[in-house]
C-alpha cells in the first residue's frame, strides 16, 4: 500500500491516523538509514509522466540505477526537483528488491495559470478586460485554488462598486494534464445596475445639499432622474464636489464617500458624504500683476487641495521662474500666510519684479571639443528674437544649462569637466540688456586603453564586440559603459540567458589619462524552449498564429524574439491583447514552456462619423450661375462596419459608406493580410459605388471592382500594384456640348496601375523633417477590356526642412499626365478622356489659389475652329485636363504659445489641357475674337500658371492641426460664363445663330475670385 492510498483510507487528524503515523515515522527513521549503500535496482516515478522535461530530469535527479543508494543524493534530488518549480510535493519511497532496492519518486505536479477568460451576462462597466485584470491571475505563474476565491471576491467588489449589487460570480477551471496549465473561466451574472439616490450629506458643508448634489452629476439635470451607479461616475461625483469647493476658493475642502449602501427593495444605492468645507483661501499677487489663471497654474495649493509651507514655497519658486522667463531676472518672490479670520485664510505673494531685461547675448568660453551649436541645442537659455522678445532666462535654466554642458563633456571622457557661468547686466551700456557667459573647464579627456571581457564562456560575444562604445582609444565615460552593459545583456537575454548579470571594473592604463576597462559577465543558466503553448483562441484558427510564432522546440529562449512576435500578432488587429510568459519563469529547469495567450477582439466594429466641409465649391444643379464655385458648407455622415478575423484566419471584410451633399459612396473591401506568407504583403479586393458632385460641372457615377497587392518593404516604403475595372458615367452635365452622347455615355475603364510610396516624414500629421515621394502609373487599354486607351502618371515629391529650432520650410511638387492612345478618328486626346478620368485640381490640399476642383480648362463652348464661333454657348464650368502641375512652398513658424503656429505660402500651378500645354507663363493667353461675333472676347486658353501667395493659422490637436488658410490668387483665370440664374433648359435651346445674340444665350466675362479660404484638419501636405 502506497502512502497516498493510506491517506485516502485514513483521513489526517484521526486518532488512528496519528497512531499509525507514529509507527510509520519510527519505522521510517529507523529504516531510511538501512537502505543507504544498497544497490539501486530501478528508479521509478509516480505518476509515470513527470512534469519535468526528460533532459532536465536527467540533470536534476541524481539517484541512478546500478549505483549504491546515497541518502544525501536522495535529499539533493528532492531539493533540485522542487527548485524546478514544477512540483507541489515530492516523496521518495524505497522498496527492497532482489539484489538491492527500488527507488520511487512520488510527486504531485504544480499547476500554472493559463488563459483567464470571462463570460456570462456581462454589463460593462466593468469590462471583461477589467474583470480579468482584477483577478490578478498572471499567466504562467503557480496556480492555487485559493487564488480563485480571492479573485472572485475582488471581482465581486469591482462589480458592486459599479452598482451591480445583485451580481454573481462563478468560476470554472480546466487543467491540461500534459502541461498542467489551468484555464480559468469566470462566469459573471451582472444583474440589474443600481441607481443613486439622494445622498446623506454630513458635516460643515457651507453649501446647500442641492448644490452638492448638482456638483456630483449623479442626477440627470432637468429631468432629475438618478443615474446608474458606476465606479467612474462615483469618483467623478466626488471630484465634482471638490471642484465646486475649489471654485468657491475652499481649496482645503475634504470630501469623503463613507458608504454607498444598497437597498435591494428599491434597487438604489444611497451615498453618504462626509464633508468639511474648510476656510476660504484667497491667494493674491501683490506688487505685480498675475492673473488668477496663472496663480492657479503656479501655486500647487490648488492642485493638492491643501495649504502648507512646502507647497507655498514651491509656488514662490514657480512664480520666480515664470517672471525670470518673462524677462525679470532680478525678481524676488516671497509669501506671507495671514492669520485666518472670519472663515478666510489669505495668502499674499509679494512679487518685486525689478527691471525688465532682455537676454541679448550668450557666450560659451573654453569649449573646444564640440561646436557651439551642439551645446546650444542642449540649452534652455535663448536670446531675444522675434518670437521671444526678451529671450528665455532664469536662474534655474542657467544652472540646468551648466549641468547639460558639463554632462556632455563627461559623457565624452572629460571626467573632471566643470562648467560655471557669469551674468553681465548693463551689457554694452544698455541697462536692460543682459549677457550670460558659460565658462567650460573640460579638464583632461580620458580614453580607454584596453577593453577586456571576462566570464563569457558559453556565448561568443564577437558578433557585438564592434558595437561596444568603450573600445580601445574611445573616450572613457560612464554613459558608454551603461550603453555597453545594455547591449551585452540584451544579447544574452536574446540567446537564452535570462539571468545574465553584468559588472565592470577599471584600472589605470599604461599611458596617462587612459583607463583599462574590464567587463565581467555572470552568464547564469541557459534556458531553452520546451514547447510553445497557445491559449485563448476560440474563433481564430491556431494554425494562423502558429505560422507566425517562428520558435522551435529546443532553441534558446529569447524574450526579445518572443515579444517581437507578440507585437506582430497584435498588429494583426484581431486580438485585443496578446500576452506572453514563460511557465514557472523562476524555476531552475532549463527546458520551459513558452506561453502565448490571446484575448480575441470583438469581431464586429461599427463607427459612425459626422463632419462638415467648408470651402469654395458647389453642387451640381441646373443653375448655371457661379461657374467659379460658391462658398459653401457640405455636411457629411459616414458609417462603417468591419468584420475582423473573418473565417478565423485574420482576414477582414469592411463596408464603408459616406453620404454628403457632395459625395455618396459605398465601398466593400475584403482584406487578406500576409498574402502568400509575407508579413508585409496585403491583398485587397474592393467593390465601390460612388457618386460625386464636388466638381460643379457634372456628377460622376463610378462602379468599380479592383484588386490590389500592397508590399511594404520597410516602415517607409510601400509598393502597390492594382487592377481596377470600372464603369464611369456622368450626369447632370452643365455643359450642353457635353450632352453629345459620345462624351456623356457610360464608359468602361480597365486599368492596371503600380504605385510606390516613400514616406520618411517624422510625423505624417504634421511633418517637421523628412520627405515624402509618391508615384503612380497606370495603363488602360482594350487588352484590359477598357473602352478608352490611355496611360496615366502622377508623381509627387514633398520635403520638410527644419530651419533652426522653430521654422520648417515645406515644399511639394505634383506633376502628372494622361496620355491617350488609339484615338478614334477626329477626336483629340483631350476630348477622348471621359470627364471623371481627367485631372481636376485646386483647393486646400492641392492649389489654394483655386476653389475646390476649379483649376484648369473650362467650358468654352463647342469650338468649330477659327474663324467660325463655337456652336454652343460657353458656360465656363471646369472640365478638367490631361496634365497637372502644382508647386507649393510653405514656411511654418510658431505664432502663439506651443499650440498655435502660422504659415506663409506660395502656391503655383494649374491643370492643363495636355502635357504639351504645361506652361509657366504668368499671364493667361490672349482672348479670341470671332469675326462673326464682333465685340465679344472668347477666353479659350487656360494653360498658364496661377500664382497664389497666402497665409494660414494652425491649431495643434491630437488628430492633426486645425487649419485655416487664406490665399490670394494674383492671376486667377478669366472665362465666359453666366452670372445670373440661367436654366440649363434655356441654354439647351440656344442654337448656333443665337449665341451671343439673345440675353439667355450670351455668356459674359467672368473671373475666378482672387481670394480663397479653406478650413480643415491636417496640414496642406
Amino acid at each position: 500500500m502506497r502512502p497516498a492510498q493510506m491517506r485516502r483510507l485514513l483521513p489526517p487528524g484521526s486518532p488512528l491516523y496519528s497512531c499509525i503515523l507514529l509507527v510509520f515515522v519510527l519505522l521510517t527513521s529507523a529504516r531510511a538509514q538501512d537502505f543507504g549503500g544498497k544497490t539501486v535496482t530501478a528508479v521509478e516515478y509516480e505518476p509515470a509522466l513527470q512534469p519535468l522535461y526528460p533532459k532536465d530530469m536527467q540533470n536534476m535527479q541524481l539517484v541512478r540505477a546500478g549505483e549504491p543508494l546515497d541518502l544525501n543524493q536522495v535529499g539533493a534530488s528532492i531539493d533540485r526537483l522542487f527548485a524546478s518549480g514544477l512540483y507541489d510535493d515530492i516523496q521518495v519511497d524505497a522498496e527492497p528488491s532482489a539484489g538491492g532496492v527500488v527507488i520511487r519518486f512520488i510527486t504531485r505536479p504544480k499547476r500554472f495559470v493559463g488563459h483567464v477568460g470571462v463570460g456570462g451576462d456581462l454589463n460593462p462597466p466593468p469590462s471583461g478586460a477589467t474583470i480579468i485584470s482584477d483577478s490578478q491571475l498572471a499567466l504562467g505563474t503557480a496556480f492555487d485554488p485559493e487564488m480563485l476565491e480571492v479573485a472572485s471576491k475582488t471581482i465581486q467588489e469591482q462589480l458592486r462598486e459599479n452598482g451591480l449589487y445583485e451580481s454573481t460570480v462563478g468560476v470554472s477551471t480546466i487543467e491540461d494534464p500534459l502541461t498542467h496549465q489551468v484555464t480559468v473561466q469566470f462566469l459573471v451574472n451582472a444583474g440589474k445596475r443600481a441607481r443613486y439616490e439622494t445622498p446623506a450629506v454630513r458635516g460643515d458643508t457651507k453649501l446647500s445639499d442641492e448644490t452638492i448634489i448638482r456638483a456630483t452629476g449623479w442626477r440627470w439635470p432637468l429631468i432629475h432622474k438618478w443615474r446608474q451607479v458606476t465606479s467612474a461616475l462615483t469618483d467623478k461625483g466626488i471630484d465634482g464636489i471638490d471642484k465646486k469647493y475649489a471654485k468657491k476658493d475652499r481649496l482645503t475642502a475634504s470630501v469623503t464617500l463613507t458608504s454607498l449602501e444598497y437597498d435591494s427593495a428599491t434597487g438604489r444605492a444611497k451615498p453618504t458624504l462626509d464633508i468639511d468645507a474648510g476656510p476660504k483661501i484667497e491667494i493674491n499677487a501683490i506688487e505685480a500683476k498675475v492673473s488668477k489663471r496663472k496663480l492657479r497654474q503656479f501655486v500647487p495649493v490648488y492642485q493638492e487641495g491643501s495649504v502648507d509651507r512646502d507647497l507655498l514655497t514651491e509656488g514662490a519658486e514657480n512664480l520666480t521662474d515664470y517672471f525670470q522667463a518673462k524677462g525679470y531676472p532680478d525678481v524676488q518672490v516671497d509669501f506671507k500666510l495671514e492669520p485666518p479670520k472670519d472663515d478666510q485664510q489669505v495668502i499674499n505673494y509679494y512679487i518685486t519684479t525689478g527691471p525688465r531685461r532682455k537676454l541679448v547675448h550668450i557666450d560659451i568660453q573654453g569649449n573646444f571639443y564640440f561646436t557651439d551649436d551642439t551645446l546650444r541645442e542642449r540649452m534652455f537659455l535663448r536670446t531675444g528674437s522675434f518670437f521671444t522678445r526678451y529671450g528665455r532666462y532664469s536662474e534655474s535654466f542657467r544652472k540646468a544649462d551648466q549641468e547639460a554642458i558639463a554632462n556632455l563633456y563627461r559623457d565624452n571622457g572629460f571626467q573632471d569637466a566643470k562648467v560655471t557661468s557669469t551674468v553681465e547686466t548693463n551689457y554694452k551700456g544698455k541697462a536692460q540688456d543682459i549677457a550670460v557667459t558659460f565658462h567650460v573647464d573640460p579638464g583632461e579627456q580620458w580614453t580607454v586603453a584596453n577593453l577586456n571581457i571576462e566570464g563569457n564562456t558559453r556565448l561568443d560575444l564577437s558578433p557585438i564586440r564592434n558595437e561596444l562604445a568603450s573600445a580601445q582609444g574611445q573616450p572613457y565615460a560612464t554613459i558608454n559603459i551603461v550603453t555597453d552593459r545594455n547591449r551585452i545583456l540584451e544579447y544574452y537575454y536574446s540567446n537564452g540567458f535570462p539571468r545574465a548579470a553584468f559588472s565592470y571594473r577599471t584600472g589605470p592604463g599604461r599611458e596617462p589619462q587612459t583607463t583599462n576597462v574590464t567587463y565581467s559577465v555572470r552568464e547564469g543558466p541557459r534556458e531553452f524552449v520546451r514547447k510553445v503553448i497557445v491559449s485563448g483562441l476560440y474563433r481564430t484558427r491556431p494554425s494562423m498564429v502558429l505560422r507566425d510564432i517562428d520558435i522551435k522546440e529546443g532553441e534558446p529562449i529569447s524574450m526579445v524574439k518572443v515579444n517581437d512576435i507578440a507585437r506582430q500578432l497584435t498588429n494583426l488587429g484581431i486580438f485585443a491583447n496578446v500576452s506572453t510568459a514563460i511557465q514557472d519563469a523562476n524555476g531552475t529547469n532549463q527546458y520551459k514552456y513558452l506561453l502565448y495567450d490571446f484575448e480575441e477582439a470583438a469581431r464586429y466594429s461599427f463607427n459612425v462619423g459626422f463632419g462638415l466641409e467648408v470651402g469654395q465649391f458647389g453642387y451640381t444643379t441646373n443653375n448655371l450661375s457661379d461657374a467659379g464655385g460658391v462658398k459653401g458648407v457640405s455636411p457629411l455622415i459616414s458609417f462603417n462596419v468591419n468584420r475582423i478575423n473573418f473565417r478565423g484566419i485574420g482576414q477582414t471584410v469592411s463596408l464603408q459608406t459616406r453620404y454628403s451633399t457632395l459625395e455618396q459612396r459605398v465601398a466593400l473591401n475584403y482584406i487578406i493580410p500576409r498574402f502568400l506568407g509575407s508579413l508585409n504583403r496585403t491583398l485587397t479586393f474592393s467593390g465601390l459605388y460612388d457618386t460625386t458632385q464636388d466638381v460643379q460641372t457634372f456628377s460622376s457615377r463610378r462602379e468599380e471592382g479592383s484588386v490590389q497587392v500592397a508590399q511594404r518593404f520597410n516602415r517607409a516604403s510601400t509598393l502597390l500594384v492594382s487592377f481596377a475595372y470600372r464603369r464611369v458615367s456622368t450626369s447632370n452635365i452643365q455643359i450642353p456640348s457635353l450632352l453629345i452622347p459620345l462624351y456623356s455615355q457610360p464608359v468602361r475603364i480597365g486599368i492596371l496601375s503600380a504605385g510606390y510610396i516613400q514616406d520618411h516624414r517624422d510625423n505624417p500629421l504634421d511633418a517637421h523633417r523628412g520627405f515624402w515621394n509618391t508615384i503612380d502609373a497606370g495603363i488602360a487599354g482594350k487588352f484590359f477590356g477598357s473602352q478608352r486607351d490611355f496611360t496615366r502618371v502622377l508623381a509627387r515629391n514633398a520635403t520638410y526642412t527644419p530651419i533652426g529650432r522653430n521654422l520648417v520650410l515645406a515644399r511639394q511638387t505634383q506633376i502628372g499626365a494622361i496620355l491617350p492612345f488609339n484615338l478614334p478618328s477626329g477626336v483629340s486626346g483631350f476630348e477622348a478622356m471621359p470627364l471623371p478620368e481627367r485631372f481636376f485640381g485646386g483647393g486646400g490640399v492641392s492649389m489654394r489659389g483655386f476653389g475646390d476642383n476649379q483649376a484648369g480648362p473650362r467650358d468654352i463652348g463647342t469650338p468649330t475652329g477659327l474663324p467660325a464661333p463655337p456652336t454652343t454657348t460657353p458656360t465656363g464650368f471646369p472640365i478638367g485636363g490631361n496634365a497637372i502641375f502644382f508647386n507649393t512652398v510653405e514656411l511654418r513658424f510658431p505664432l502663439l504659445g506651443p499650440n498655435i503656429t502660422g504659415v506663409v505660402f506660395e502656391d503655383m500651378g494649374n491643370i492643363y489641357t495636355t502635357f504639351g500645354d504645361v506652361s509657366l507663363a504668368y499671364r493667361q493667353p490672349p482672348v479670341v475674337v470671332y469675326p462673326s461675333i464682333p465685340g465679344q472676347a472668347f477666353y479659350q486658353n487656360f494653360n498658364y500658371t496661377v500664382q497664389a501667395p497666402g497665409f494660414g493659422i494652425r491649431y495643434k490637436t491630437p488628430i492633426g492641426p486645425l487649419r485655416v488658410d487664406f490665399a490670394y490668387a494674383l492671376n486667377p483665370p478669366r472665362y465666359l460664363g453666366f452670372n445670373k440664374n440661367e436654366s440649363i433648359q434655356d441654354l439647351i435651346g440656344c442654337g448656333p445663330e443665337e449665341i451671343g445674340k439673345t440675353p439667355q444665350c450670351t455668356a459674359t466675362p467672368q473671373q475666378l475670385s482672387h481670394f480663397q479660404f479653406f478650413f480643415s484638419i491636417g496640414q496642406a501636405f
Partner: protein
C-alpha cells in the same frame, strides 16, 4: 477495534514493503525543508550540545521551527548577497571542537557515528553557523547606535557583574565591555524583530505527517 487493528497491520505491512526515505516536510516560500533536514538538524544539535539523541515529535517540531528561521535567513543572505563563511573557517571550528571535547580522533569519529553524523555534516553545520553570525553582524550592527550616556548608565547598573566577568580589568576596559554588551543586546533585538516580521510575512506550509 478489530477492523482498525487489521487495517493498521495491513498498513504497517505495506510500509515495511515500501518505506518513505525522504520527503518535503515544510515549504517556506520557494524553499523546502525535508524530513532528512529535520533529522540531521536534531542529530547535529544534540551532538553539539552534548545531549543524548532524541528523535521524538517534540524534538522534530523544535527542529522544524529552527529550520524555518534558517530558511528565512538563507533567503535574506541570498537576496542581499551577504558573504558566506569558508570551509577553512568551518574546519578550524571543527578542529577546535574535536580538541576540546574528545581525547582523540577515534572517540570523535565514534561519537559522530553514534549520532548518525559524518565530519562533513558537522563541517556544513559549522559553516552555516559562522555564516549566520556574520550575516547578523553585517545586517544589523550598522543600524545600532549606543551613546556614552547609555554605556555609563549600564556600567553603573552592572558594575559588579562586569567586574566578575572581566576580573582585573581597568574601568576603561569595563566601559568597553559594557559598550560591546549594549551593542550585542541591540543587535539581537533588531535581529529577532526582523525574524518575527519574516515569520509573519512568510508563506509557510507544514506537511503535518513529517512533524510527528
Amino acid at each position: 477495534m478489530i477492523w482498525r487493528l487489521s487495517i493498521a497491520s495491513l498498513i504497517v505491512a505495506g510500509i515495511i514493503s515500501g518505506v518513505i526515505i525522504d520527503r518535503i516536510a515544510i515549504i517556506v516560500g520557494n524553499s523546502i525543508i525535508k524530513d532528512s533536514d529535520i533529522d540531521k538538524d536534531i542529530r547535529a544539535t544534540d551532538f553539539l550540545n552534548g545531549r543524548p539523541l532524541k528523535l521524538d515529535a517534540a524534538e522534530r517540531k523544535a527542529a522544524a521551527k529552527r529550520l524555518v528561521d534558517q530558511a528565512m535567513i538563507r533567503r535574506e543572505i541570498r537576496i542581499g548577497d551577504y558573504p558566506t563563511a569558508t570551509f577553512q573557517e568551518a574546519d578550524r571550528e571543527l578542529e577546535k571542537l574535536e580538541k576540546q571535547r574528545f581525547p582523540n580522533n577515534a572517540d570523535f569519529e565514534r561519537a559522530l557515528a553514534h549520532y548518525g553524523l559524518t565530519p562533513l555534516d558537522l563541517r556544513a553545520e559549522f559553516r552555516w553557523q559562522l555564516t549566520v553570525l556574520r550575516f547578523i553582524d553585517q545586517r544589523f550592527k550598522p543600524a545600532v547606535v549606543v551613546t556614552d550616556q547609555q554605556v555609563n548608565d549600564y556600567y553603573k547598573q552592572h558594575e559588579a557583574a562586569l567586574r566578575r566577568a572581566h576580573p582585573g580589568q581597568s574601568p576603561d576596559d569595563l566601559l568597553e565591555a559594557a559598550h560591546d554588551t549594549l551593542i550585542g543586546e541591540q543587535v539581537n533585538k533588531l535581529f529577532f524583530d526582523w525574524l518575527d516580521q519574516q515569520r509573519q510575512d512568510a508563506q509557510i506550509e507544514y506537511r503535518e505527517e513529517s512533524l510527528h
